[in-house]
């Protein structure tokens, strides 16, 4: 009976998703049919109450505010400024200005919660500049596709909020837990770029004349706005001064301040950023609504509990479980976007994870990295979409260019499994326990 219910609902889910029904609505459809067939509870009440409860919660309020902050910053001259501030420092490294992709994305990720927005904002400046200077397209575009995903791992992070809300984990802790793995991944990316450049010296343009230290320091003033925003958002969370939501509100106000200081805060830009953020958030909200209903329905049917018992019965060790999950998520990531991946699976997987004694914060960070990998796997990968739009290149070509960076992310998962302290140490030092 249970196996039958599981298989039937799974087939229904894939049929709805695959045929192109909007994802949030597909989830509602599966939840409705599942409850109608396998429980005796009133379906309509469950639907209304779960969706209302899911979308009116205080914890979720950080999400639209961070989306809004990103929309404002995308319309400022921030990326231009960052390039001006970073280029003088990075030009002499092996790999030269390719590092502006990695370092630019790393810094921008600390004010942006999304991978595609990071990729688009940084690429807006670095792609034309690097192409003009004669850097090879493949490493330029590949490193941008890879480094853009840092937007998810380095806080603030939209996917972490989604995970925190669905899995009932502390969002502030998840944010802080992402810092060390995020910097480590950036270091891996930069290291790869440097190694690649040393082996392909002929393909790169010659180094430009190095500016003097004074000139470099003067150029660094362009980094001041972004650094101020980072301090405002991240430090307020880390030292326990603000919750994630309050930090997000400070971020929006700060971003508006930056836009005003740069004289890019026109009525048009303000209106576009506001409506853009409202619609983007709404898109996420529809998926969350579907997921809230589906989670409640699955709880009534008891599928996640049975799944956990079944997996426990297999007697897998922790690393076998993580390996199996990683393979599962990589395949899923080829066809689904990150948010849908998380909301679809977390309610099923969580009981298993807890039963296996895995820390929910560790699992959250792990999940974010797997979702990052999904951003660059064809045929559905948001960074690929963004770069396809920006460069006009074929998606498979971009995916191939990003492949080394995909492998580095996989390597990071192994490292974090071996050294879980990289994730758990920093949050344990936080100012408060929220």
């Amino acid at each position: 009976m249970d196996a039958f219910a599981a298989v039937m609902l799974l087939v229904l889910m894939f049929a709805l998703l695959g045929s192109g029904v909007w994802i949030g609505l597909s989830l509602m459809g599966v939840a409705w049919i599942g409850m109608e067939l396998f429980t005796a509870r009133p379906v309509g009440d469950a639907m209304a109450v779960s969706i209302w409860g899911g979308l009116s919660g205080w914890t979720l309020t950080a999400l639209p505010l961070f989306v809004w902050m990103g929309e404002i910053l995308f319309r400022t001259k921030l990326s231009e400024d960052m390039f001006k501030g970073l280029a003088p420092w990075l030009g002499r490294l092996p790999g030269g200005l390719i590092h502006t992709n990695v370092v630019g994305c790393t810094i921008f990720a600390a004010v942006s919660g999304s991978s595609a927005a990071t990729c688009a904002t940084i690429g807006k400046m670095t792609l034309p500049e690097l192409t003009r200077r004669g850097y090879p397209d493949k490493i330029t575009i590949g490193s941008l596709a890879g480094a853009g995903t840092l937007g998810l791992l380095i806080p603030p992070s939209i996917i972490m909020i989604v995970y925190g809300v669905t899995a009932d984990a502390s969002i502030a802790r998840l944010f802080i837990a992402g810092v060390v793995p995020g910097l480590l991944l950036a270091l891996l990316f930069s290291g790869y770029v440097a190694l690649w450049s040393l082996r392909n010296r002929d393909a790169l343009p010659p180094h430009e004349a190095a500016p003097s230290l004074g000139e470099r320091l003067r150029a660094s003033r362009h980094l001041l706005p972004v650094v101020t925003l980072i301090v405002l958002v991240l430090c307020s969370i880390y030292f326990g001064i603000a919750t994630a939501t309050e930090a997000a509100a400070l971020g929006v106000v700060g971003a508006l301040g930056v836009a005003a200081a740069q004289r890019t805060l026109s009525w048009r830009n303000f209106r576009d950023s506001l409506l853009g953020a409202t619609r983007l958030y709404c898109m996420i909200a529809l998926i969350l609504a579907g997921s809230a209903f589906l989670t409640m329905a699955m709880g009534y049917i008891g599928l996640p509990r049975h799944l956990a018992q079944w997996i426990a019965g297999l007697g897998l060790s922790t690393w076998q479980l993580i390996l199996a999950l990683t393979a599962f998520y990589i395949v899923l990531g080829c066809f689904l976007d990150g948010i849908s991946m998380v909301v679809l699976t977390v309610s099923f997987v969580m009981p298993t994870i807890l039963a296996a004694g895995i820390d929910p914060i560790w699992f959250g960070i792990y999940l974010v990295i797997v979702v990052e990998m999904a951003q660059v796997t064809p045929p559905v990968g948001f960074n690929l979409f963004v770069l396809q739009g920006m460069t006009g290149r074929d998606m498979l070509w971009i995916a191939h260019a990003a492949l080394p960076f995909f492998c580095l992310m996989a390597a990071l998962v192994v490292v974090l499994y071996a050294f879980p302290g990289l994730i758990t140490w920093l949050p344990s030092q936080m100012g408060f326990s929220g």
Partner: protein, 168 residues
């Protein structure tokens, strides 16, 4: 008729946008009140209501602008004629689900009004007021889906626009 419908979607989206500003204002107010040491109870709950209102009221406009995501893998590979039919089937399925969504939302709001359901938090708000946004938003969403389904028969070429997503 076209103009009235579009005004409906955009009007709802503008209310949603104003609720976003209100949400920002409430969070900033709660920070400020804590800094000066005044306790304003219920701000968190109001922020939650603004959030919910914004999400539901923007549904239609987001749908019309092609903002809600779907898996277009198979859909995009069909020949043009088959694609139009597949699109109609998708819209019909969506219509059924959104109709149920709107129906239960209106019912929830009505029930809260009938039994004078109050929020259990500090704010003690009559719940039908914020739930009105859910009822209205889902109704406008239903209207937009019907509109699109009708269009898929009268002017099928206009469907299927894809927008860039900056969410993730």
């Amino acid at each position: 008729m076209r103009r009235i419908l579009d005004a409906c979607y955009e009007g709802a989206a503008w209310i949603a946008a104003l609720l976003m500003i209100a949400l920002l204002g409430l969070v900033v107010a709660s920070i400020a009140s804590r800094l000066v040491g005044i306790n304003l109870p219920g701000l968190d709950a109001y922020a939650g209501y603004c959030l919910a209102g914004a999400s539901f009221l923007a549904l239609a406009s987001t749908f019309v602008h092609g903002g809600h995501i779907r898996v277009e893998l198979l859909l995009g590979r069909l020949p043009a004629g088959a694609r139009i039919w597949a699109e109609r089937v998708c819209l019909l399925v969506a219509l059924t689900i959104v109709a149920a969504f709107a129906w239960v939302s209106v019912q929830l709001c009505w029930t809260s009004y009938e039994i004078h359901d109050l929020s259990v938090g500090d704010d003690a708000t009559p719940l039908w007021i914020p739930q009105l946004g859910m009822a209205l938003g889902t109704l406008v969403f239903l209207l937009a889906v019907i509109d699109r389904l009708v269009q898929s028969f009268t002017a099928p070429a206009t469907t299927g626009a894809v927008e860039a997503h900056f969410t993730e």
